[in-house]
């Protein structure tokens, strides 16, 4: 069943337009993982580089992708840095993301039934009877003025072309801002200046590189390639062999 909706539509690396959950679900299912914090952390880089590669997408759509990206980065950072304390709101976002994704998966699978049955065996109502008595029964409210006012009211009621989802736009406006915010956020709680290590991002691409390098560095810390000393949560992190690390990290990113 699942393959039907996946087949053709969600092919790997195809720049198909889809919502953030469709993309996330695809990345997780490609890896044959269940939906949880571990699998979400493992698809974070792919998700971010996909979002970074999107062009020609309406602003409100991009906003919904970015809002999810920032939650993913938090999940990733948390999984790599157990010492990182999250705000209550951040914890809530993380917990909700998992649940929302499960709900999305459930409904997108049910959507297959809708797709398969829609228009297949239609139940038709009877046509309008043609023999009905021909009468003319107007209403005193049908006047030239009322008709004009109603038509003009309809014209004014028409929604404007672009809808901006208020909530999500308020949270994040661009991927640059999101990354700035998170960099600042993680930097503060770790008291570590990784700008020195990964360079200062100015353009959108550079900023994305900063965060991706940072995540990659943390990954290396986790697997023990790099030795990081952090005495206390809020003290400086001392990274050993800084020169070499930079090269290693760069080669990881390039892969």
């Amino acid at each position: 069943m699942e393959n039907e909706i996946l087949d053709g539509k969600f092919k790997v690396k195809t720049p198909v337009f889809e919502g953030p959950f469709g993309l996330l679900l695809r990345l997780i299912e490609e890896r044959k993982l269940f939906i949880n914090d571990v699998s979400l952390a493992s698809v974070t880089e792919d998700y971010i580089s996909y979002v970074n590669s999107i062009e020609d997408m309406p602003r409100d759509e991009i906003a919904s992708f970015i809002s999810i990206a920032s939650t993913l980065i938090l999940i990733k950072s948390k999984s790599l840095l157990p010492g990182l304390t999250l705000l209550e709101e951040e914890e809530k976002d993380i917990k909700n993301l998992e649940d929302r994704l499960k709900l999305y998966k459930l409904y997108s699978e049910l959507a297959i039934y809708v797709k398969n049955n829609f228009g297949k065996n239609i139940i038709f109502p009877a046509l309008e009877s043609k023999k009905s008595v021909l009468v003319f029964l107007p209403d005193e409210r049908i006047t030239k003025e009322n008709m004009m006012l109603l038509a003009q009211e309809l014209i004014n009621k028409i929604p404007k072309k672009v809808f901006l989802p208020k909530v999500e736009v308020k949270k994040v406006v661009s991927i640059e801002e999101m990354i700035d915010r998170l960099t600042e956020r993680i930097h503060k709680s770790l008291n570590m200046n990784f700008k020195e290590f990964a360079g200062v991002g100015i353009t959108k691409e550079e900023k994305v590189t900063v965060i991706v390098s940072f995540l990659a560095m943390l990954e290396l810390v986790r697997v023990g390639v790099v030795h990081v000393i952090q005495e206390n949560n809020f003290e400086d992190i001392i990274i050993n062999k800084r020169e070499e690390i930079t090269e290693e990290v760069i080669s990881v990113i390039e892969e």
């Binding site: 003319f136 107007p138 030239k144 009322n146 003009q152």
Partner: protein
């Protein structure tokens, strides 16, 4: 068995008197088979609210005559009911666009207008005609009676007609674009 049910479905849907010849064409069986099926169908309708009425070669479904009073009351009620705001809105679109398809009206109102159109037709305010350009489409037009009730000889005499007509026609373009973009990209 099956044939009776098929006839029943066809008659119910068409909701008008239908010849046995027409039924035999639609269902691709002989007129004799239709005739036999009609006999057993009639028996099924004994003591029901719907009856099968046959007049020579023509058949149709109707309400049982014993409920005549009930139906008459319903008919009166339908005609005396006040027109809803939705119906009046729909009527204003039909007037100011000088005839509109259901799809046009639905687009402008943002909701489906089947029932409101029906209420307007029943009262003789609008009439449904085939679109000259596309026979599969229907256009709802104001009736002559409606125009004379409004005291105009032609649609153009309605207040601010040309401006409103243009604005209504612009709406469709505005709404259609983003909706289409979404559909084609997401499939």
């Amino acid at each position: 068995m099956q044939l009776e049910s098929k006839i029943e479905a066809v008659l119910f849907f068409r909701n008008e008197s239908t010849s046995i010849k027409k039924l035999s064409e639609i269902l691709k069986v002989s007129k004799e088979e239709i005739g036999e099926a009609l006999i057993s169908l009639k028996q099924k309708y004994v003591d029901r609210g719907i009856v099968l009425i046959q007049k020579e070669d023509e058949v149709m479904l109707g309400t049982a005559s014993e409920f005549g009073d009930l139906i008459e009351e319903l008919q009166k009620e339908e005609l005396n009911k006040d027109l809803s705001k939705a119906s009046l809105e729909t009527l204003s679109i039909i007037l100011y666009k000088n005839g509109a398809s259901r799809a046009d009206i639905d687009y402008i109102r943002g909701v489906n207008s089947s029932f409101t159109l029906r209420a307007l037709s029943v009262r003789g305010l609008v009439e449904k005609v085939s679109d000259e350009n596309d026979s599969r489409r229907f256009i709802y037009k104001p009736t002559f009676e409606l125009l004379s009730f409004l005291g105009v000889h032609s649609i153009e005499e309605l207040p601010e007609y040309f401006e409103t007509f243009n604005n209504l026609n612009k709406i469709k373009e505005n709404i259609e674009e983003p909706a289409k973009e979404k559909d084609s990209n997401e499939i």
